[in-house]
Symmetry: C2
Subunit: 191 residues, 2 copies
Amino acid sequence: MELDAKSNHILDAALPVFVRHGFRKASMADIARAANISRASLYLSFGSKEELFRAGSTRAHARTMRQVEAALGGNGDVFSRIESAIAAFHHGLIAPFASSSDAVELFEVNMALAKDITLVARATLVDLLAQALADAEAARVVALDRVNSKPVDIANVVVAAMDGIKHAPGDEAKLQAAMQLFMRLLRAAIS
Amino acid sequence: MELDAKSNHILDAALPVFVRHGFRKASMADIARAANISRASLYLSFGSKEELFRAGSTRAHARTMRQVEAALGGNGDVFSRIESAIAAFHHGLIAPFASSSDAVELFEVNMALAKDITLVARATLVDLLAQALADAEAARVVALDRVNSKPVDIANVVVAAMDGIKHAPGDEAKLQAAMQLFMRLLRAAIS
DNA sequence: ATACAAATGGACGATTAGTGTCTAATCGTC
DNA sequence: GACGATTAGACACTAATCGTCCATTTGTAT
């Protein structure tokens, strides 16, 4: 699933159109105009509006998971690396749409058109977090037996917390603060 | 042309919908939803989308002209009062739409549906400015003969400058700075 | 409880906008 | 000029929106 330069250019242009108008009200004409190409040649790159959206979701997920892996492979202790990974996930797949007044529709459409990719990415995130925690446990950096759980359990809770926090009311700053508080709790619990 | 509470409520709700989607893509269903009423009862207040838009434009112009008159009747010298009046005009009738990506469409639709109101307001603005300048001249505060012109000429130039400056590229701050510079020029020229 | 007005959901035909497809014409590059 | 890429424009089809209508519900006053 590699994209040529033109397709990438189109997806770059399409994102803000979807963010502004939502899926239903974003027309192929709008997207073509934003990409400075004709509607005809838009259909040369993507066979349908749904295919285009799916390609955008796929690209965003691929990019984001690369960022997540980089964050987990970076410097710092397990907790700060996990925090960075969560931040990368949020920044790549949630924040861009949070500002949209059609965010709900966009997430629904995404689940309708790219459910597989979305769920795989979510599962991969959990796996990666679990792996990082398992490594830390092996290195005696964390003690998961203190909470009587396995790495994958903790990973699931972390992701679920991120999910819950993102749905809670409040602006971007409050959200980040809540996530950091959660990470401090985690650190205190299993360090 | 008095509006009841419900109509005012609807127009309040409709404005951000028009700003976000433009006229064409803003549906009556969108507006009804924003106003928390049914589409059916939206049509009880306004017979059509065009009538609703026109009512909104009319209300905005009426409110703004009241602000303009208040500014010209306020404290300070002629120049600062004129500056306030221009700012009120801009704040009431231009700034709310400047942020919209469909600003061009909205201004076009406004000229199609509420041209009369818009042109009368513009003419009234010129008249009010000319009146203020004439008063200042009578009080020997300004000397229009220095530029060999009549109050109405100056007023027209001020409004035209505002128009031109608003169409120039740059953000809100640059625009305000440009207008203030223009006012300093005027002050220097006819004080 | 009854009467009345206001508001609603739902359906309607008519109209418009959008989708996806196709072709002939144009553009840019070799 | 030849070539592939891109385009405008038209096409049939579908979906969305408009403006209208009415039966029903909701709220309020009596």
